[in-house]
Subunit: 208 residues, 2 copies
Amino acid sequence: MKTVYDAAAIAAMDKDFRTQFINHLSGYKSANVIGTVSELGLGGSNLAIFSSVVHLGANPALVGMISRPFAENVSRHTYNNLTSTGYYTINHVATNWVDKAHQTSARYDLEVSEFDAVGLTEEYVNDFPAPFVKESYIKMGVKYLQTVDIELNGTKLIIGEIVLVVVPTGCVSIDGHLDLVGAKTAAVAGLDTYHKGEMLGRFAYAKK
Amino acid sequence: MKTVYDAAAIAAMDKDFRTQFINHLSGYKSANVIGTVSELGLGGSNLAIFSSVVHLGANPALVGMISRPFAENVSRHTYNNLTSTGYYTINHVATNWVDKAHQTSARYDLEVSEFDAVGLTEEYVNDFPAPFVKESYIKMGVKYLQTVDIELNGTKLIIGEIVLVVVPTGCVSIDGHLDLVGAKTAAVAGLDTYHKGEMLGRFAYAKK
């Protein structure tokens, strides 16, 4: 049996119901935690979960993520840090610590490092100036490029260039495919529900 | 063992390797097919897979998707249709027809309906003016609102408002959670690899 919700039904939904419901409609979302440090070391490191990281292009290697309006959450710490220092890390949430990743969404004060608060480990790779998550298997260092304001609802599309990538050697195939199942990458549905993946199949480049 | 790729290593990658590799780095991606019709019935219906549909906000219910530069693929058919008619559908790809969804990425001529070419069924719901995919379990009708040009690489962020939702009745919980596993929603990794999900856990709103 199917249920159809029209625009009036969507508008009439209880606020919390609608937030959860609409948030599921895009399908599975990427689960990443964003690592930053504050400028001049004030406030130390920061780690925040984002479920909106999206591939924008391979050459240059551009990645985007959506930041909610700052009045609604604590993502301003992440935004202030990455725009002032110019760098951030994107770390795949792994299936064995989805609880810790979710806990980074709590409203910790600026002085608190979410790494310490949730029990994840800061890791520095080469001379990249933002902290990676040691417990993450696929992670990248990103150079901040641009913010695109989405005036329709006050969100921001934050765009950066991937300049450093760390992956398990055995997860990279000869043609550039990454084994997300092997790397324990998690996916998220809605606001709070985490999943692991199981591969169904891989298909050739489609021709008519 | 880990492999670290710096900016020089990324730049030196074979083009096809890099396209596949970078495309995996955002993590699991949503798998949706976009249904449109051409204005005045010229060219009929169109169906195209997008792996970049992203939640933008719940109230108003906004959803975005990234369109590659038109020179590179056939997404201009979708874009021309949704901007000229003002409406499109977003249909979750289900795990039992990921092959058909992938095949919509072939460069069919404008006159060819991908519904017919790949073997999926057009479905019209209420008086919504774009075709849904009958075989999809979670799907939405979207009113086109705005295109945001991303000048860094020529992509476009297409934004619309969700005005109609069709879901299996049994997949909606009392608090708005949708059971994506029960609805057979698929996820995609990179350009061509499809996955099903298995739920790990759901967590309460995080407090410090």
